[in-house]
Amino acid sequence: MRKLLPLVIVIFSVVIFLARLFYVQIVDESYGDVSQNIAIRKVYDYPQRGYIFDRNGKLLVGNQPAYDVMVVPNDVKDFDTLALADLLNLTPKRLKERIDDAIVYSPRLASVVTPQLTKSEYAYVQEKMYKYPGFYIQKRSLRDYNVSHSANVLGYIAEANQRDIAANPYYQSGDFIGRRGVEQQYEDLLKGTRGVKLFLRDRFNRNIKPYKNKKFDTVSQKGKDLSLTIDSELQAYGEKLMKNKRGGIVALQPKTGEILSLVTAPSYDPEILVGRKRSRNYTKMYYDSISRPLYNRALQAAYPPGSPFKTLTDLIALEENVTEIDETYYCNGGYSYGRGARMACHHHKNPVDAISGLAYSCNSYFAQAYRRTIEKYDTPQEGIEAWRKHLESFGLGNYLGYDLPVGRKGLVPDADYYNRAYNYPKYRWYATATLSNSIGQGEVLTTPIQLANVVAAISNRGWYITPHILKEVDHKPIKSATYTEKNYTTIKPENFDPVIEGMYNAFNYGTARFLRVPGIDVCGKTGTAENKTRINGKTVQLEDHSIFVAYAPKDDPEIAIAVFVENGGYGSTYAGRISSLMIEKYLKDEIERKDLEKWILSNSLEEAYAKPYLIEEQMEN
C-alpha cells in the first residue's frame, strides 16, 4: 500500500487544482470586469452639445470650453493637501469632502473635484497637476448664450446627479444633462455621443498601448443642431414689453402650429445658469416664491379665460343651432335668470347679434346663448357633456401635447363635476347654475398656450396643428405626425365666419378699436378676469387680470396670439396693447406707434403686485 502514496496525492492535487481553476476561471465571472477596471483606462472624448438656432437660423445657444478637475480615488497617492486645496481654491476640509464623495461614488471611476475652471484658471492649474497623481483635468463644453432672452424656453444644462446616473447608465459623474425647456425635452438629440479611447495601462498607471489595436475605440459625435420655431426678434421684443409685468405671451403660426414666441415674465438671463455660478443663482431663483422666475406662466398658469371664451360660447351656440347669425338680442344692462339673480353687463349699443355681441363683449348675449345650448338637451348633465366635447376639440381641458416638459391641463368641467359640487341627485342643478361659464368666469381654466391655440383654430376656421417648438433637426424639417397633421374641431367652417367677423369688429367699433394696427386686419377679443385672493382668511378683491387674444391678418392668418398680464386691469389696457404691438412687430418688423410702445415700456405693475403684501401688513398691524 505504501507504494500508492504518490499516485494518491498527485491525483488528489490535480482534482483540487482543476476544481478550483474551473471555479475561478469559468464559474466566477466577476474577475473579467475587475481585470478591465484594473488594466484598461478609458479616456473619454466628450462631444459638443448640439447648437440651438431660432426659426431664421440665428444662433441662440452655442458652446464654450470649460475645464473640470477630476479625481480617480484609487490612483491618488499621498500629496500635499494644503497646496492642492490652495491651487483649486478650496478649503482643505472641502477638498477632503469632495474626495470622500468621490470614493463613495466609485474608487475606480473619475469624479469631479472642481468643476468648470475658467481659461485663465486652467492655464495656472494645468502646470501643477503633475504633482498630484490621480487628479487630472478634463475638458468639457459649457453653454454659451448668444441671446439674453428665452431662458425658460431654452432651459439649461447641469451636471447629472446620482438619480440621473442611476436611471440611465449612459450618464457618469460630471456629465451634463439638460434641465427644463428644450435642453430637457430634446436631451437625447442635443447630447451627442461620447467617444472613448481604451488604453492598456500598467501598474504605474502609465498607458502602454491602445487596447486591442483600438478595436473598441469610438469617436465622439457632436449633438444634433436644433432649430426652434421661435422668432428670436419677436421673442426679445415680447420679453421687453413684459418687463415689470407678470404674465405670459404665446404667439403661434396658425397654419403650422409653430410657436413663434413663448414669453413668461419675470424671467432671467440664461447666462446666469452657466458655469460655477449656476448653483448659487439657481437656488436663489428656486426659492423666490414672489416673482417665481422659473415658473413658465405661458405654459403653467391656469386662469379663468374671461371674455375671449365668448368666442367659443358663440361658436358652440351656432353649431348647436340654438342661435342664428341674423337673430338680434336686446341687452338690458344685464341678464336676469330667476329670483333676483342677474349677470351684469356694461353699456354698449343695442341690439346685438352673434357678431356685434362679440365686438361689444356683451355678457347678456352670451349668457342666453350658453343657456340655450345647455337647455337644448333634456337634462343639464347632457347639455354640459355636449358643450364639453366641443371645447375639448379645441384642445382645452387636457395637455395640448406640445414638446416642452411643463404644462397644465386646465379645466373643462363635466357633468360629474357639477353633480359632485351640487350633491346631485339629492339637490338638482340647472344650466343657470353654471351660467358664469358663458363668459369665461366659471369653472373653466385655461393656460395662455391653450388660449393661443383656440385663436389659431378659429383663424384656420376649424383646425389646428399641435403647437410645437422644434422646427428642424440638423437643419432638416421635422417629420413627426403629431406636429404636422391637422386636428379638426367639432365646429363647421361656416360657423366661424360670424365669430371672426365679431373679432374683427372688436377692432372696428368694439372694445379694441384704439388698438388697430395700421394697414393690417386684426381680429381679437379683450378679456378681463376677476381676481380674488384670500389673505389671512379674508377674501380680497385684487386688480383684474388683463387678457387679450388676437390673430392677423384676418383672411390669411400668420400669427395668433394670447397675452395674459396679471393684475393688468382691462383686457385692452395691457394685454391688448402688448398683443397689438407684437402683431405689428411680427408682420411689419417696425413699430410705427411709438407712443403705444412707450406707454407699455414705461408702465410698471410692480405696485399692483405688492398690494397683497401691503394688505397683509395692514391686517397684521
Binding site: P6, L18, F22, V24, S30, S35, I38
Partner: protein, 417 residues
C-alpha cells in the same frame, strides 16, 4: 555519454521536461517583454537570460549524463557535505537580496545553492536508506534519516528562507515508501488539520469542540475495552497543540507571516495591502476565462499588475493568457511527468535508485503543489518556484540535475544488477 545510454534514457520524461521548459519560457517572455520588436537573445533582458540558462542547463545535462553512474552512489555523502558547506558559506560570503542571504554573487549573475542542495540530500538519503543494516522501523535509524534532512533545513532557515526549507518535507514521501511508521503521517495530517482549524476558529472553540466530541464518543462507546486514559491524553494533546499554535502564531510569527495565513482564512481581506499579490494573481487567472486572452495579450500580465509574475507567480500568466484550457494542460503535464517518474522509481531494482527516484518525485510534487496552490489562493504565500516555469538559472539547473541523474540511474538500472 555513450550511444547506448542515449537510447536507454526515458524519452517520455525528457519530452515532458522539454515541453514544460519551452512553454515556461514563452510565459516568462510575456511577463517581461517591453518592446514588440524585441530580440529574444538580448541577454540584458530577463527573457534573454533565461534562454542562456536553458542552453547552459542542457550542457549541464550532457555532463550529468556523461558521468559514470556509480559515481553518484559512491560520492553521495561527499556531495552532501559539499552541499552543506555551500549553505554554510553563505553566512560568510553570501549576497543579501530582499532580506535573504541565499545567493553567491559572481559579477552580474548570482547562484542560489539551496536549489542544488536538494540533489545532495536526495543522494545522501538514498545512500543511507540503501545501506544493508538500516531499517526505518528502528527509532535510531529514523533519527539519523531526520538528521540528514534537518541539517540543510537548519542552514536554510538561517538565511532565512522558510519556503526553501519547507520543501524538505518532500522527503516524507521516500521515507514513507521505505517503511517509516504510519503514525508519523497520521500525526502530521492531524497537526495540519488542527493548525488550520485553530487559526480559523481560534483556540477556545477548537478546544471546546474537541473536548466535547471526545466526551461524547467516550460515553457512546459501549465497548468494555475502552481506555479512559487514551481519551484524556488525546484531549490534552489537541488542546496543548491548539494552544501552542495560537501562541506561536500570535507571539512568534512576524506580522507579515501572520498575514499570509490571514489572507486565506479571513473573509475580509485588504486587497490593497496584504492580499495584493494574491488578489492580483486571482484577477489575472480569473479573467482568463476558458480560452484565455492570448499570448502577450493578457491585460494584467502586460500591465505588470501581478508582482513577481515572472518568478513565483508565473502560473497566473498561464491562467490569464491561456485560460482554463492552458492551466488544465499544465497541471496535467506536471501530473503526468511526476507519475512517470514515480513509475520509473517503482521499477528500480536497486534500493538506492528507488529512494533517489522517490525523492525526485517528492521534491517535484512539493514544488508543483505548493506553488500552484499558493498562486490560485489555496495555500499561504511561500516563495517556492514552479519547476521549469519560474525565471531563474539556479532553480532550472537544480531540477535538470535532479531529474537527469535519476534518468541516468534508470537507464543503467539493468547493468548495475
Amino acid at each position: 555519454m555513450s550511444q547506448r545510454t542515449f537510447f536507454q534514457l526515458d524519452w517520455v520524461s525528457i519530452l515532458l521536461v522539454i515541453i514544460l521548459i519551452g512553454f515556461g519560457w514563452g510565459n516568462i517572455y510575456s511577463t517581461t517583454v517591453t518592446d514588440v520588436n524585441a530580440d529574444i537573445l538580448d541577454f540584458s533582458k530577463i527573457y534573454g537570460k533565461q534562454i542562456l540558462w536553458i542552453i547552459l542547463g542542457f550542457l549541464l545535462v550532457i555532463i550529468v549524463l556523461s558521468i559514470e553512474v556509480r559515481f553518484y552512489e559512491r560520492f553521495a555523502n561527499v556531495i552532501y557535505l559539499v552541499a552543506l558547506l555551500s549553505l554554510l558559506g553563505l553566512l560568510f560570503f553570501g549576497k543579501t537580496i530582499a532580506g535573504q542571504t541565499a545567493w553567491y554573487s559572481f559579477g552580474s549573475f548570482s547562484i542560489q545553492p539551496a536549489e542544488f542542495v536538494k540533489t545532495g540530500v536526495a543522494l545522501a538519503m538514498a545512500k543511507f536508506l540503501s545501506e544493508f543494516h538500516v531499517n526505518l522501523k528502528n527509532f535510531k535509524d529514523q533519527l539519523k534519516a531526520f538528521g540528514i534532512i534537518f541539517a540543510p533545513i537548519l542552514l536554510i532557515m538561517l538565511q532565512p528562507d522558510a519556503g526553501s526549507a519547507l520543501i524538505y518535507l518532500a522527503f516524507a514521501i521516500p521515507l514513507y515508501r521505505e517503511g517509516l511508521p504510519h503514525w508519523y503521517l497520521t500525526i502530521a495530517l492531524l497537526a495540519g488539520l488542527f493548525f488550520v482549524l485553530t487559526l480559523k476558529f481560534g483556540f477556545a472553540i477548537v478546544s471546546a469542540v474537541t473536548v466535547l466530541l471526545l466526551t461524547l464518543t467516550f460515553l457512546l462507546n459501549k465497548s468494555k475495552k475502552k481506555k479512559l486514559w487514551l481519551y484524556i491524553v488525546s484531549g490534552f494533546l489537541v488542546v496543548g497543540f491548539s494552544l501552542s499554535v495560537s501562541f506561536i502564531f500570535n507571539d512568534v510569527l512576524q506580522p507579515h507571516q501572520q498575514d499570509r495565513f490571514d489572507v486565506l482564512l479571513d473573509d475580509e481581506i485588504d486587497i490593497k495591502g496584504t492580499a495584493f499579490n494574491l488578489y492580483q494573481s486571482q484577477v489575472a487567472i480569473g479573467s482568463g476565462g476558458l480560452a484565455g486572452k492570448g499570448w502577450l495579450k493578457g491585460t494584467q500580465t502586460q500591465g505588470r499588475f501581478v508582482p513577481e509574475q515572472h518568478t513565483d507567480y508565473i502560473f497566473s500568466t498561464v491562467g490569464e493568457e491561456w485560460g482554463f484550457i492552458g492551466t488544465t494542460i499544465i497541471v496535467l503535464l506536471f501530473a503526468v511527468l511526476i507519475l512517470r517518474l514515480y513509475f520509473l522509481a517503482e521499477r528500480q531494482k536497486s534500493q538506492f535508485n528507488r529512494v533517489f527516484g522517490y525523492s525526485v518525485v517528492g521534491i517535484l510534487f512539493f514544488h508543483f503543489f505548493v506553488n500552484i496552490a499558493m498562486v490560485i489562493g489555496l495555500f499561504p504565500t511561500v516563495g517556492i518556484p514552479l519547476p521549469f516555469f519560474s525565471y531563474g538559472g539556479s532553480g532550472l539547473w537544480g531540477f535538470l540535475i535532479l531529474i537527469f541523474i535519476f534518468l541516468k540511474l534508470d537507464a543503467k538500472r539493468i547493468s548495475l544488477n
